[in-house]
């Protein structure tokens, strides 16, 4: 009576060919098309939900506020060192000369809390919210399939994280260019590249942040499978972010900080050097991949074996 064996059998039915009885109705669509339809519906429900639209709107307002604030306080003699002492500081001095740098400033500031909130709310709510509304039992009775539902949820979270990151990046770019102008980009290592090359760097940095947020989404998704109160899952995910950032800033914890989930989030500044510091970059991407894999596995193990009692 091993639960695991049962689950494995369920999985076998899940992925295997349609069984002789039942699953094939004459009008049954191909499996891939049915999965895409479910995924499209999940995206529609997520992106049309007003709460989520507000989240994106708030995320979009931040680069605008940061841009205006920096414009107002911009040192006119170019010797300003008034920025906060985070790793965003390095970009602040560059900003006066080139609006493209507002993307890096905005991403580094928003990565501290705003982007994790935007991603954490949707991913923490993903399973717990369905359980809270009671819609989870109906989705499973449809049957959506437990593994399939989880896969659709994580795919949605990845799309959501990418969307939120690109919105911040794009708004920051537009606002930055409008307020500070555009031109050849001087990288942190002192090399100057063309504007087109600079935009490639913007794209790479944005993609790196997307990966970081997608990995964080997996953590929040896993937490989400343990509760039917989405607010609890969201809060727990945020506490993990803050705790990780705190630990990351205490020198005595130096041996473990590379394993903290947030440790590599801001490492995208290695993309702004020439040549690119690929060692740091790969470490970061590896950390994201491991976090995503481990927490997706936890989510799967939990979700495919737990009774749905809500």
């Amino acid at each position: 009576m091993s639960r695991l064996a049962e689950r494995r059998r369920e999985m076998a039915v899940d992925v295997g060919a349609p069984s002789e009885e039942g699953v094939t109705r004459p009008e049954s669509p191909p499996a891939v098309r049915a999965d895409l339809r479910f995924f499209a519906n999940e995206l529609r429900v997520t992106f049309f939900r007003r709460r989520n639209q507000l989240l994106l709107l708030v995320a979009a307002l931040f680069p605008l506020l940061i841009g205006i604030g920096l414009k107002l306080s911009a040192p006119h003699d170019g010797s300003g060192r008034s920025g906060p002492s985070s790793s965003g500081a390095a970009y602040f001095s560059q900003l006066a000369g080139n609006g493209v740098f507002l993307t890096f400033v905005a991403l580094s500031l928003l990565l501290i809390l705003v982007l994790p909130v935007v991603v954490g709310v949707v991913s923490g709510d993903s399973i717990a919210g369905e359980a809270g509304y009671g819609t989870l039992r109906y989705l499973l009775a449809v049957p959506a399939g437990r593994t399939r539902l989880l896969a659709v949820k994580y795919a949605m979270i990845v799309v959501w994280a990418v969307t939120a990151t690109f919105i911040v990046s794009a708004i920051a770019l537009v606002v930055g260019v409008a307020l500070f102008g555009a031109g050849p980009v001087t990288l942190l290592s002192g090399t100057t590249v063309s504007l087109a090359d600079g935009l490639v760097h913007v794209l790479l940095v944005t993609l790196y942040v997307c990966a970081a947020m997608a990995a964080f989404g997996a953590i929040a998704l896993a937490i989400s499978t343990f509760t039917e109160h989405s607010i609890g899952a969201i809060a727990a995910a945020m506490i993990i972010v803050v705790a990780s950032e705190v630990v990351d800033n205490i020198p005595q914890f130096a041996p473990v900080t590379p394993y903290m989930p947030t440790h590599w989030w801001l490492s995208f500044d290695s993309l702004l050097r020439s040549p690119i510091d690929t060692t740091t970059l790969w470490h970061g991407l590896l950390s994201f991949a491991v976090y995503a894999a481990v927490f997706c596995s936890i989510a799967w193990a939990r979700f495919t074996s737990a009774d749905v009692t809500s």
Partner: protein, 328 residues
């Protein structure tokens, strides 16, 4: 099955729902469902009765693969659960523990959501099927309204519409009339009749016998996690022995006649009026024969009635009066 079993057992394939020693022990140690052997014949309307907390919903959750049994097995339409969930559940419509939808979506979008999750449902026919299901429960006019603005009855009807979204072989309705007014209750009952008339097996749970006795062909009665009765509704009725009651001034002679006719359990009831009652189990004796014998024996009969206990009385007898909390 072994050959010693006298009555022919229905093969599992002929049963819409079959379970064997299905049990569920909660983490706290409470045995919520205790060796339940359900046998729901195809094409029947099965009333699943029992007071609140008797294990009905937990049983249904296990049947639908939402909860995993601690021990025992279950099968829907001949397919074992929960292993076969993904292959068989698309032929099973269900309403479990009240309606649940996304409050921020319209009724229509809610149904579209559940339909999109079904891998056997075709996107091409979705619009027609959703429209038909909404029409069937009378919600066409409210299709574009947000679910949070629905009344309780509308929510319940939307849940039934969701159960009818695709062609089904089995519909499981858990307390479908909970919280409905008498009008709504009647509507649900009419819907159940319609569904059954289409040849679909209906499994409907309720804590009120009156709600299912008009539509059911079979009943199962749960008490404290155990299935204490299962069979045709008529069989349940037969378990109630009808009694004959004779109103007379001469109870002693009347009782003598009844005993002579072979009626069991004669009881003298002193009503405190001029006329008293004698009652006894009717058995196979025809009431008119009793009248003739009484008259023949010179007993003055003022009235003779045959009374069968109501199903309600039987139900209460099976499940207990309620409010007496018994340890599970």
């Amino acid at each position: 099955m072994t050959q010693e079993v006298p009555q022919p057992e229905l093969a599992t394939a002929d049963l819409a729902i079959a379970s064997s020693a299905l049990s569920k022990r909660f983490r706290g140690g409470q045995l919520a469902v205790d060796h339940v052997d359900l046998a729901v014949p195809r094409g029947s309307v099965y009333g699943f009765l029992g007071p609140n907390g008797s294990g009905k919903t937990t049983t249904i959750r296990m049947l639908l693969g939402l909860a995993f049994p601690t021990s025992g097995t279950a099968a829907l339409l001949g397919v074992p659960m929960p292993e076969g969930a993904t292959s068989v559940l698309s032929r099973v419509g269900s309403l479990v523990e009240g309606p649940a939808f996304y409050p921020y979506l319209s009724g229509w979008d809610n149904l579209a959501r559940y339909d999109a999750a079904d891998r056997t449902a075709s996107a091409a026919t979705a619009k027609a099927r959703i429209g038909e299901a909404m029409e069937r429960v009378g919600l066409t006019a409210a299709a574009k309204k947000r679910f949070r603005n629905y009344s309780l009855g509308m929510k319940q009807r939307l849940a039934i519409a969701a159960a009818l979204l695709a062609p089904r072989d089995l519909i499981i309705l858990d307390e479908p009339t909970n919280g409905l007014d008498p009008q709504g209750t009647r509507e649900v009952r009419a819907l159940v009749r319609q569904i059954a008339a289409d040849g679909i097996t209906v499994f409907v749970s309720s804590h009120l016998l009156a709600e299912v006795e008009q539509v059911s062909t079979h009943v199962g009665v749960m008490r404290l996690g155990k299935l204490v009765f299962q069979g045709e509704l008529a069989a349940l009725r037969r378990t109630a022995a009808p009694r004959v009651a004779v109103r007379t001034g001469d109870t002693a002679s009347a009782a003598e006649v009844l005993t002579k006719l072979g009626l069991a359990d004669p009881v003298l009831v002193n009503t405190g009026l001029a006329e008293d009652l004698v009652t006894a189990e009717l058995g196979d004796v025809a009431p008119e024969k009793i009248t003739a014998e009484l008259v023949h024996a010179g007993v003055g009969v003022r009235g003779l009635t045959v009374e069968a206990p109501s199903l309600e009385d039987l139900f209460v007898g099976l499940t207990g009066e309620g409010f007496d909390v018994e340890a599970g």
